[in-house]
Subunit: 149 residues, 2 copies
DNA sequence: TGCTCCATGTCAGTATCCTGACATACAGTG
DNA sequence: CACTGTATGTCAGGATACTGACATGGAGCA
């Protein structure tokens, strides 16, 4: 009796609930970021750059879980709006380090607050221990999935 | 000190890890379903129909977390492949109940086994209690997010 | 009955993200 | 040095999902 042989009702499937949570979170973030005219990938890009300035396109793509091509479009949009600056020449290889501008930093601060509010809403009623357990359990799932591929 | 005022490193943000897990699961399912020539939404549609025959397009869309329009395309593809049948006339309102064909049921059985394998891989090393805790915690998050919108 | 409101199925257009492909730049190895 | 392998940035094309819109069918109410 080490493993069930059917998934059971979708409502009880881990994968189903995981997707449902991801969709709900995505929608909530979209809503929160709309006043700032930022999409979720755009925000994620800014947040990553705020924490680790000088990241390249490919590194940002991996961090945001999109392809290099998609991140390229995001970065171009942010560049045109003056929120980030990309180095004109590559200091190493073909990598073009990107950094936040002052305007980008201001946008990020506002967006970060909005997203924090969403996360706070999401985790309402959860003890810190339970949040930590959620993080750790998800980390195990991620590791299990990525090891197999 | 009831709430932190910054998100902290993205690696520790619940939303970030949640998205990461969802992406990893999506990729793993795509890989597992590829031999059967099924996409994740197509599989989700079949699974839902297997558990609750006669669902309408709109009901399926809500269950799979896509729009009616997207589900319409999915359903049309499955219909052309002979995996599902849609009622020609609406027995009530405009709803066109959909059901699995024999071929659809066979496809579903194979797909369900593949997805179960993925879920088993994902949850490897997690005690039933921990899986249950994950489900319950995610349910709280979903409720919190949906109440606010 | 007539009116309003809501849900459904569908068409059209747009946006987003992906896969495939190519040239370039560096590291490692003979 | 030359060669191979890997990683990056970018272009082109296609797949997928979305928003907006419309017509239809039913429920509720005066």
């Amino acid at each position: 009796m080490e493993q069930q042989e059917t998934l059971g009702p979708v409502e009880n499937a881990v994968g189903y609930v995981l997707k449902q949570a991801a969709v709900a979170l995505r929608n909530a973030m979209d809503l929160a970021l709309r006043p700032l005219h930022l999409t979720v990938p755009q925000y994620a890009c800014l947040e990553l750059l705020g924490q680790r300035p000088g990241l390249s396109n490919a590194e940002l793509a991996r961090g945001v879980f999109v392809t290099r091509q998609s991140m390229n479009v995001v970065l171009r949009g942010l560049d045109e709006r003056g929120l980030v600056t990309r180095a004109a020449v590559a200091p190493h290889g073909r990598e073009l380090p990107t950094e936040l501008t002052t305007a980008g930093r201001e946008h990020l601060d506002a967006a970060s607050a909005a997203v924090l509010a969403v996360q706070t809403t999401m985790c309402a009623g959860l003890t810190p221990a339970r949040q930590q357990a959620l993080l750790e359990t998800l980390a195990v799932c991620i590791r299990n999935l990525n090891d197999g591929s």
